[in-house]
Point group: D2
Chain length 346, copies 4
């Protein structure tokens, strides 16, 4: 059993990470921190976990790096950007491995970070050593990493369907349009009028266009895969579900030979993901549906060619709080610790 | 007061048309038909309308053209495609004006109809006289028409934001991508597993790609506006709301002079719609939200230019059962009868 | 046309009152106030009303009694309790008629008010002149009133089904149990974690037991009807809908002669409500359903006798924001002004 | 590892049982049957389970008792009442242990069964040997049983909070009123208009009053506990959530000594359930909320005394598909097999 801790466990991502780690067969939740809930047990703060014996004894504490470093080998950061980096520095110095769910270490360039997040990077010296925690792409690097930048929810839903096509040269890099629909938990546990039940229920709306912060990491990873600088179109929408992201991608193929295009895509995806435990390639007439992935670490992907327009339509579905946050972080932890990659996730 | 009738008033479109016509200040609902509910009052079939005095006395009848022609001057058809055309023929011969909410008379070519609807057109001789009932485009023709093909819900949400830009030559005709999100009432009142509460709630999914039937009328109207044959990309999705369509359009401008592009779009939309009672052009930071149009005949439109990609993003929101169905049909009726266009709709 | 004003029009009740008054055929919305939105138009604050011509010109103002008294003959108060009474005093002195949607004037005893609302009544001298605005019970008094205490949402859903039975002596006064389910708009437009979409969706929960504030007015009116002091059981629950209250009442009949009990109840309800435009007595197998009343001023009532237990089960459904708030207030206004009682409400 | 089978695995209860058994550490899902899906894999029918390796190889088969008896030691029946008993007979003869999720063996009297289910019991000779599968009450009998009648969802939500109070003589047997709210999955996966998304969303409604079938087993178990024949009041309601039952109970205490009543209830519940892994007794101000139990086998219980009326209010929350169906059945299986009672359930 490895000892793990979560810093900032009171938001939706942190809460779902608590759920996953309470049930993990090879990890023990040694500490959870929250300024707001310090002193209370996990069972008191999250009654839904109270049937786990550990939830009755584990108490939230103030976040203190030195104490955490004594309690845990791996520390998850579920904090706002900016704040996360400040915690990562001492934890790494004290010998912990850090898995950061914020955006702080996802972008390799401090200048890009400042452009998208509107403040200086708090720890630019760590950017070089951080590994982008997308196991399907960086599995070997994750195994050796001490600092994981766990990907965002939208980026995961866009990158996994797109990267293999880009690497194989099947799509035109400038053509990528990503239209994404997210459940309300993606906005975080914030007391704001916009996220009240009455404002979200029976409502659908786009937001944050045209320059969402997640574009920085999406475009970085796409550009690495393509070997050329890529800029994409991305529109997020808020839909009235608790969890789930559905992304629809519009792509222009490089070689519009319709007769074999779908089979080339199928072969490309099979080569990339046939053995991936958490990527479900949909066959036949099936299309992604968030209800088939909610609560799991799975991303569903399906693809179609439209012979009328020549475009490709690729769709993905994931749980924004699992494959898009805590589940993917646990997947990285499994790799870092030499556990089976699916431990605690299936 | 004009006497009106609804044939096939038991589906969601028919039901909402009943709602609108019960409250219309210049129309009296003289007859409603439904094989299933014949003999029952409107109040019995739709308890929600029982407080309208007319709902307690008006009984559903079997649909018989000769009787309807005696009862009503204007007959609305809320029937499945194929069936609607068969009713339209005798009603027109008997002197009624017909407003058809089905797809039967929306496409001007019987061949295109067969291509998309998979059966021969039942009354191709009427196609030439049918007027596409989009008042913002065909207002004068609607005033003179005896047969209205009231537009579909998706087409309305796509055509109104797109047509002015195409007519003004502001966008490249081949670039149009429409990503649409529809409430479940769009699937009709059908006892199918796919539309059960448990299958739709906490679920989002694309469907019907890549060749949805509504493409036939969308592309016809776009092509007329552009003066050239247009093919578009269109992906509908099902989201867990009762009512509402949100459409996000991705468009490539013809002249990518970013410095004035947004102001040219604003001027274009102002010229087209500033005086339209049911088109709401959003200013400032506001973006469309279905909750702001549900229950009304309004379509909201907003537009943005993405300087990073050069693309335009145009978004619309409407109620699929009002501006996308019955409300638009009543708007046409108001024009045909010389009533104020907003009568019964504001 | 009468000139009307709304003080505190930015909450859910105020917003729905704006909706109703914008469409009222005999009232003109002369002023709306909100400290938060002062200076903005109704169309800016509530885009959903922007298609009403009046919404584009009418601006929110600071709430000032002297100005309001010049602008409007009738002033609606949609303010928190305590605050409402402070506005009512000068408005009445300046000659306005006041319809208060808060709890401030519903209870006739300042002591009971303090017991339930935990502060001294701000204007106890007005309690005697206030009329409880339940038109089905106090129609004649409302016609003559200058100060209306418009009933709460839960009270309306409980009182209308219960009062006729109590007056007729059909039920035992001590037996009343009211189990109520309310949509989330009942909690008001407040930025609190408890009312976030994610906390309410896929959730059902009781709250506020056992001494909800609304009990003060419920028990007052029941006691008046019974001629004896009545204490009832009341449990409110929060359910994931925007609007609607469903109340299930458990009652013990005074005379358990099962053979005629249902017919006596039917006769009692018919005598009380057969001519009421907003009370729908359900016949046959129909049971109340909030979806049949949402958006309307109607309350549905059904009743059953359980021969196994001897108890009566009476159920009601209403829209908490219409018959439970703004609609009922407009119904009172119609009576005060001599308009048809259903004006602007059907 | 024990081999298990599910007969009738295509409904919501069967589907959730598949979920639980795929993850069970000591049971292997050897067979699942469904006439409708025979020949397809579990992964094809339920894409949400496709990441479980077993789901890709296990195929639905026709339900044949002889084959099932060779494949599995324990067979779960997730079939409609009437049909379940017909399968149980040969399976028991062939030496299987049977856990029946239908109502067929819950009632000990064939006459009561006929009264509530309107047909003769198909296998009355088995009623005597069936054990009512409520582990908190019949744990020892379940360990020895060959035929388990797993309780219904409403009965579980009512019995667990009520039985200890009845046994301790704390409440008056004739006073029990149970007001229950159920998610739509409780209606089963049936293609009926009443359960369409649009008919259930933004709707709340009572149904099936006053004589719901579940009363037969509820009153049987209450009567056994009280040692006297008990008849209760029960009103189910349908609310727009997928899963969850919230029950509010109104009870009259036998000894209305308010000063110690709550502490006596607390002591009674502690004595009954303090060591139960799936009963969560809520302390302090917490009240049950279905969102805290959904997906788990936990039932939450809270209790209050109303000094104004003298009544007790007891509330429970459970997942109708887990503690109310498949989870409770697995809990019985764990007992029958000598596994830890929480195996596969925490």
């Amino acid at each position: 059993m490895i000892q793990v801790a979560i810093v900032g466990a009171s938001g939706y991502s942190g809460e779902d990470l608590v759920r996953l780690l309470l049930s993990h067969p090879q990890a023990e939740l040694a500490a959870v921190t929250s300024r707001q809930y310090a002193g209370q047990t996990v069972a008191q703060v999250f009654p839904k976990f109270a049937h786990h014996p550990r939830a009755k004894t584990l108490r939230f504490s103030e976040p203190k790096a030195e104490l955490l470093a004594k309690q845990a080998q791996i520390v998850f950061l579920a904090l706002p950007h900016g704040v996360a980096a400040e915690f990562a520095v001492p934890l790494l110095q004290l010998g912990c491995q850090v898995i950061d769910l914020s955006a702080d270490f996802r972008v390799k360039s401090a200048a890009v970070y400042k452009d998208f997040y509107a403040h200086d990077h708090p720890a630019p010296e760590l950017l070089a050593q951080a590994v982008y925690g997308l196991p399907e792409v960086y599995r070997e690097q994750i195994r050796q990493a001490s600092l994981i930048a766990s990907p965002g929810c939208y980026p995961t839903s866009i990158l996994l369907p797109t990267l293999p096509l880009l690497k194989a040269g099947l799509i035109q890099p400038a053509s990528i349009i990503a239209d994404s629909l997210s459940g309300v938990s993606g906005a975080g546990r914030k007391a704001e009028l916009d996220y009240l039940f009455v404002e979200c229920n029976e409502s659908v709306r786009p937001y944050g266009i045209p320059k969402h912060r997640h574009l920085s990491e999406i475009e970085q990873e796409l550009s690495i895969a393509a070997g050329t600088q890529i800029t994409i179109q991305f529109t997020p929408h808020l839909i009235p579900v608790n969890r789930g992201i559905l992304t629809t991608l519009y792509l222009t193929p490089t070689d519009n030979n319709a007769s074999s295009l779908v089979s080339r895509l199928t072969a490309c995806y099979q080569a990339a993901y046939a053995n991936e435990p958490f990527v479900r390639l949909l066959e036949g007439k099936a299309l992604p549906d968030t209800k088939n992935v909610v609560g799991t670490n799975v991303i569903e992907i399906a693809w179609r060619h439209d012979p009328r327009t020549g475009r490709l339509i690729v769709m993905s579905a994931e749980d924004n709080l699992v494959k898009g946050a805590g589940g993917q972080a646990v997947q990285s932890m499994n790799l870092m610790c030499g556990f089976p990659e699916t431990a605690g996730l299936i």
